[in-house]
């Protein structure tokens, strides 16, 4: 009788083990849903933010320079557009930072 009981307990333990392994396998085979951008390292984030800011100003400079050449308003439009470019750069930085905090920018809305 004790022998039988022991084997039954062993059986139960084995089944439980199988159960755990099965659900683990099921879990592992599911497609993972995780964040997108926030996996990038600090260095990646830093270069992104710096580039956003510089690019805004750069666009201001280029656009201002060409418009000044074209309209003969040197150097006023360039000055104006550098300021606007800096504002755009800051806007970009803020957006990028928001995206980094949120993780992926795409949210499954209404699904």
């Amino acid at each position: 009788m004790t022998d039988n009981k022991k084997s039954s307990e062993e059986m139960k333990a084995e089944l439980d083990d199988l159960n755990a392994r099965l659900s683990a396998a099921r879990e592992a085979s599911k497609p993972k849903v995780a964040s997108g951008y926030n996996e990038a390292t600090t260095y990646g984030r830093a270069t992104r933010l710096v580039a956003e800011l510089i690019a805004g100003i750069l666009v201001g400079v280029l656009l201002g320079w060409y418009l000044d050449q074209w309209l003969g308003t040197k150097p006023w439009l360039m000055i104006l557009l550098i300021i606007i470019g800096a504002a755009a750069g800051i806007l970009n930085v803020m957006r990028a930072a928001k995206q980094m905090v949120q993780g992926g920018s795409y949210n499954e809305e209404g699904k």
Partner: protein, 167 residues
């Protein structure tokens, strides 16, 4: 900075477009569908295997439960058999004891009866002897020939008194 020389822009961009287009066509037509196919097949296979494994696992669980139920039944059965047997044996034993004590009582009664008979017989023998001895003694000492009946009466009374005193 050699990168800012406009003369090198055109050849680079031209070859970039050529190579990138070739790579894109290769990946879109050949590599990506192939990889997607393998991944899909593997996912399906894993899902199938998992389903099969889960079914088998459910069966194993069922079997285990059935086994445990059978075991529990057997245990209960055994216990009830033991209980009923014990009662039976107890009843048998009690009946046998009862019978034995009845027999013994009967034997004791019989023995008592025989003892009583033997006693009364012995007593009457004693009385006869006492009566004879008494009449003999009386006739020899006093010469009186007493009536046997009256002697018997006296002896009886005396012995009864003695028996009572004894008792």
């Amino acid at each position: 900075m050699p990168q800012l020389d406009p003369a090198v822009f055109l050849p680079q961009i031209f070859w970039l477009i050529v190579v990138f287009a070739a790579l894109y066509i290769f990946i879109a037509r050949n590599a990506a569908p192939k990889i997607a196919d393998v991944l899909k097949k593997r996912q399906d296979r894993i899902a199938d295997d998992l389903t099969a494994a889960e079914q088998l696992q459910a069966k194993a669980e069922e079997a285990r439960i059935a086994f445990e139920k059978a075991q529990a039944d057997a245990r209960n059965n055994a216990a009830s058999i033991v209980l009923s047997k014990r009662d039976e044996i107890k009843a048998d034993t009690e009946a046998a004891l009862q019978k034995l004590s009845e027999e013994l009582n009967a034997k004791i009664d019989e023995a008592q009866k025989r003892i009583d008979e033997a006693k009364s017989k012995a007593l009457s023998d004693v009385r006869d002897v006492a009566t004879d001895v008494c009449s003999e003694i009386v006739s020899q000492i006093s010469g009186l020939n007493l009536d046997k009946k009256s002697i018997e009466k006296v002896v009886k009374a005396k012995t009864d008194a003695a028996m009572k005193g004894d008792a």
